[in-house]
């Protein structure tokens, strides 16, 4: 059994080897929806989120607010492309329009040039199809150059730790799609409290997903009375997941763990009541609507 992988490219390669060797592969960190679509396998579980769910969350959220024209800042590699493509599909399907894209190199430190191009496009939304340090530096520079006055920023993959790193002053108003937030329920708060005690920071959705998926796996081994891959997979598929991470989540035939996704808006500094109190809920997207819908899937396991 293998857990982990945050890079989409290595995750796809790992999934392939795991399938050959008939070992269960559970991924929480990588985004690519190909893991459960074109390249799905009976041994892969994609647990926390994928690019389709992120696109559905952020793009639909913006369209619902009446913001229909987009400009993308896209990281120039597999993940960025997947994110932009999935979001573009959502935007086009709901009558919006993508006015332009800047593809920037991974780990670029300066985003000002792309931001000015975005501003010149007169689009209403700046879609960030990047992650981590790139997202953080894009948001910082967007504030500095006054982009946030004319455009709304939609981060397609924003972790709460990124918001923390950007600082509430610069991050306020940012829209983010997440699978989990620490301040959602008693169970999530309890888990977050334990995490905080040890790590001195709040867990992100990926960290919570790692914990939840590990427990799901271990409970399945216990219930099945074996660690045989096929039997444990069968056990996990027939058990609903109800824990600190999600309610009524389930693992579909294509390996997607189907669960609710949430669109959050980052609070303004005056709304923040305690450390890490960053998000207010905008909308909840049911798992069936957030992840790839079966008719759209190219995964043979799902449609047979």
């Amino acid at each position: 059994m293998i857990f982990g992988g945050t890079n989409s490219g290595t995750a796809l390669a790992t999934a392939k080897v795991a399938a050959e060797k008939k070992r269960i592969y559970i991924n929480n960190g990588a985004g690519t929806s190909a893991l459960t679509n074109e390249q799905c396998s009976p041994y892969t579980i994609h647990y926390t989120y994928d690019t389709i769910a992120l696109a559905n969350g952020s793009a639909k959220g913006m369209m619902d607010k009446g913001l229909k024209t987009w400009y993308f800042l896209t990281a120039d590699y597999a993940f960025g492309y997947a994110l932009e493509k999935d979001a573009t599909n959502v935007i086009n399907a709901s009558g919006g329009k993508v006015l332009g894209t800047s593809k920037h190199p991974l780990n670029a430190s300066d985003f000002s040039s792309y931001l000015l191009q975005a501003q010149n496009s007169k689009a209403q939304v700046l879609g960030l199809a990047n992650a981590g340090g790139d997202t953080i530096n894009s948001v910082k520079a967007a504030n500095e150059f006054g982009i946030t006055k004319t455009m709304k920023i939609a981060g397609l993959l924003v972790f709460i730790t990124d918001v923390h790193a950007i600082g509430i002053k610069n991050a306020q108003g940012l829209l983010a799609t997440e699978a989990w937030y620490w301040d959602q329920s008693d169970q999530s708060r309890k888990f977050a409290g334990r995490f905080m005690e040890k790590m001195k920071r709040m867990p992100s959705m990926v960290q919570a997903g790692n914990y939840s998926s590990t427990m799901t796996y271990l409970n399945a081994v216990k219930a099945a009375g074996t660690d045989d891959s096929d039997k444990v997979m069968a056990q996990m598929r027939k058990t609903k997941i109800n824990d600190m991470f999600t309610k009524n989540g389930y693992i579909r035939k294509d390996g997607t763990m189907v669960h609710d996704m949430y669109l959050f808006e980052v609070k303004t500094p005056s709304e923040v009541k305690s450390p890490w109190d960053y998000y207010k809920l905008v909308s909840t997207l049911s798992g069936e609507k957030a992840f790839t819908i079966p008719p759209d899937s190219k995964c043979a396991l799902l449609n047979k």
Partner: protein
């Protein structure tokens, strides 16, 4: 008016942004050039020193409430001292050996320093705000320029040309230049050459730290901020000519502009354009644009 399908105001604003990045390249490659010129050391820890300059500034603000302006002076001194310790304890023993040993040592130091800070502060970085005085922005008509960026250009150019002046036009600089040509002879004239190398290394490192302080409010202060930048800076030094002071300044600014334009016309290539230029320059002028063949 349109140039290459781009309005002249848009082009102007992109050039201005290129100049901001060019200022960073100029000051970083200047430090490398000074160090290489006198010590013959390819200082791979330059990026780590840049990062230390930024992170020391952040720490001073966070733990001691020391403001940006003080750190603009203090951080280069502190990091410069770190550089002096490195030179005295480690680098000194490698001068008789091949360049590669110095490169390996400084590269190892980089991995070590980045690793330690990464385990303490994580990889996502720390936010540092621009000082109140420079926090606004100015509407230039063709673009809104954050005041802080203008300050970056102004202060790095000032420091660059002051360094050039000291090295090329003063007697201290004359000793330095003589030392690069023939250290033994300079020593015979009663100049304390080992002390001079130590101070030069400290100064080169301080330049890196200075640009680190300048960068802190612009890019996220993170343990890896230097390694993202340093490879480009090395290319700048090679293009300008290893050890050439004015060459590194002019090349730094020039490549910032070229990179800025690339970001408009074909952004995917913006991280590689500098290296493409490096290949072309090396083919025709192996010693770099401003370097002299030895």
């Amino acid at each position: 008016m349109e140039i290459f399908g781009l309005s002249s105001s848009a082009l102007l604003s992109q050039l201005l942004l290129g100049l901001v990045n060019g200022s960073f390249y100029a000051i970083l490659s200047l430090g490398l050039a000074v160090i290489f010129g006198l010590l013959n050391v390819i200082n791979f820890s330059h990026g780590a020193m840049f990062m230390l300059g930024a992170i020391v500034t952040w720490m001073a603000g966070q733990y001691f409430g020391i403001n940006y302006w003080v750190m603009l002076l203090l951080s280069p001194i502190v990091v410069g001292l770190v550089g002096i310790v490195i030179e005295r304890l480690l680098l000194r023993h490698l001068y008789q050996l091949d360049h590669l040993y110095g490169l390996l040592l400084t590269f190892g130091l980089t991995l070590f320093i980045e690793g330690v800070l990464r385990s303490i502060y994580g990889a996502s970085g720390l936010a540092y705000s621009a000082p109140e005085l420079l926090s606004g922005s100015t509407d230039l008509g063709f673009m809104v320029l954050p005041n802080y960026r203008a300050w970056v250009v102004f202060s790095s150019l000032t420091v660059c040309f002051a360094t050039w002046y000291v090295i090329e036009k003063t007697s201290i600089g004359a000793y330095l230049r003589a030392g690069t040509e023939n250290p033994k002879l300079v020593q015979a004239f009663g100049v304390n050459f080992p002390l001079m190398t130590t101070l030069t290394y400290g100064f080169g490192v301080a330049l890196a730290a200075f640009s680190g302080v300048l960068a802190a409010p612009i890019i996220q202060v993170s343990p890896l901020m230097g390694s993202n930048l340093i490879i480009v800076v090395f290319a700048v030094v090679v293009i300008g000519g290893m050890g050439s002071i004015m060459g590194s300044i002019i090349t730094g600014l020039g490549l910032g502009l070229i990179e800025g334009l690339t970001k408009v016309f074909y952004p995917q290539a913006s991280s590689t354009v500098v290296f493409a230029i490096m290949v072309i320059v090396l083919l025709f002028r192996p010693a770099g644009l401003f370097g002299r063949e030895k």
